[in-house]
Symmetry: D3
Subunit: 132 residues, 6 copies
């Protein structure tokens, strides 16, 4: 049960509805997922976060599927159930195969392990790795 | 200062030296970075972790640069200084551009933000996102 | 399902019951929430943790509502479902408005984003920020 | 050493310089801290993040000092050295006393402890805490 | 609902079935828990992770119960529901008493608190603690 | 550089000095480490945290070395530099061998990996693991 009341499209005030419309138009879908319905309880936050997502996740130097997989990597590391489900669904919709997902998870698992070995042993950064 | 003495190539016992040789051969480099010198204080762990890294980071359904970027996404989320430096250097060596790095960082930052909004508001997962 | 059996008031040994009584007297409530019922399986821990909570959350240089909001900020960052619910309920009981909660969540989200940008880019601390 | 070259005011392209100017005007200061100099390597990200910070940290239902303290609570929980220093300096500039800082740290420490007790014991959320 | 289809023993391909057999033989049990059924969707990962678990958790300089308790300490700190349940069950099967579990949880809680005090106050490491 | 001025023994007010004396008597040492000198800026917090540490880390159902190793496991997972150094030094003083430390680190690394696999794949808890 979310901590604020979710705002449905039909009940959304104009400031939220125009964001909902832009989300659906940008994503070429006809429904709004719960993340946005919750943020709509505070329309300025809804508009601000959507603006950030739209810009950051747009195709650029990285393709959209790579960006979704990076999102999954962060969400798994943080253990965010909602974000794991939503971004895995999104990555699959963008073409992520079972084999790619399995490798993604293997990298995330391993990185979490070696991160702790590096932190735990207090390993000094090699000068060769420092930016010039 | 690391918590165990780093093992240099010239001082490495045979079990560690053969791993060092495989690391350099696999990576086509002529030096060993501190992560492996520290693990070499415990040769079975050195061999085990290298075996994992070699398998998980090999080209497969995901290309090596994508895997490095996923590694960076995890390392930044965990705040692991050593891993951020080593995998950013590695990603750059595999061709990551400044623009790709900037977008990677933007995605990681945003994912950490929206992870907390989703967790904090206790947003229920949409049935549409659940695996079939 | 909790990992230890929750201790109800009527079944509590004297050492736990006296803590329960103090919790209800301090908070001016007539019920005990599950956190304390679980800790009551180990009465010395129950008494120790309650003593800490009572001291730390008492009004002081910071008012009780600000303290509850700080608690929420930590709990959201850690993704602790129980703590998010219990401290949000507590903050609302102390007068937190919807607008305050929305701003709190916006700050927590943003801080998690910029934390990762600062860590990820390895930004050096400005000398101006260091304590004198 | 940061992973990208910091952009100084005198070298900033117009898109970054106008953000720098707005930061100094908004904050009534005459210098730019390293966080922004690093982001300036990617002007669209600089502008986007500054726009978020400016909106989220503006006075609203919560006063600016409370917002800074929430920022510190998150930054301490994440162990972000840069953010701890910068936001503690900022909170002090906004009037945070030694006693307030000590209480803030005590709450953050305790919340991290009880978060783990709640998660670790798998304590079920009391129905009384759920939103109506 | 897991993100990939769990593989039951009767449906497992030979590569997964031989790992399942080794898990049951090593643990002297007659069933496979969900963690391995999920990994079996990707047999090389199943074999790799099991090989790591088998080696790392084998009796050595530390006894198996101590290793399980360390696993719980990490899992509680990360808030991993599955791992908390599975390793607590495993530790209990290895003889962990209620009193030991309560002390383990108390240490984990306290360590999470003092970790944040140390990080938050930016406490310098005493030279006496550095390795010689 | 710590965020508050460290209090040396010779400058400590009586409330802090008596805690310092108890720390040295309990630990049979003749010096105070920086953690306590920093907390001494706020004597009630110094007394409260020391009281917690003294109780939780005392021998009980778990021996003091096991408790130190659990502390290290948490500190490595959180990446707390100060705590890793101080508790590793303490564990070594209590007899932790190189082989035990290597196995501890291996368990912590692996647990962080499998935690993420379990969280990431959203693996359901087996009914067999639930408490009776």
């Amino acid at each position: 049960m979310p901590l604020v009341k979710m705002v449905e499209y039909r009940d959304a005030p104009p400031a939220a509805r125009s964001v909902f419309d832009d989300i659906m138009a940008t994503r070429k879908t006809d429904w709004i997922n719960n993340f946005w319905k919750v943020l709509a309880a505070d329309p300025p936050t809804l508009a601000r976060i959507w603006d950030n997502v739209k810009r950051v996740m747009a195709p650029g130097a990285l393709d959209p599927l790579t960006k979704e997989m990076l999102y999954i990597a962060v969400s798994v590391t943080n253990g965010c159930e909602y974000c794991i489900h939503s971004h895995t669904a999104s990555a699959r919709a963008k073409g992520m195969t079972d084999a790619q997902f399995a490798e993604l998870m293997a990298v995330v698992g391993l990185a979490n392990e070696t991160n702790r070995l590096a932190e735990g042993y207090r390993i000094p950064v090699d000068p060769q790795f420092l930016p010039k």
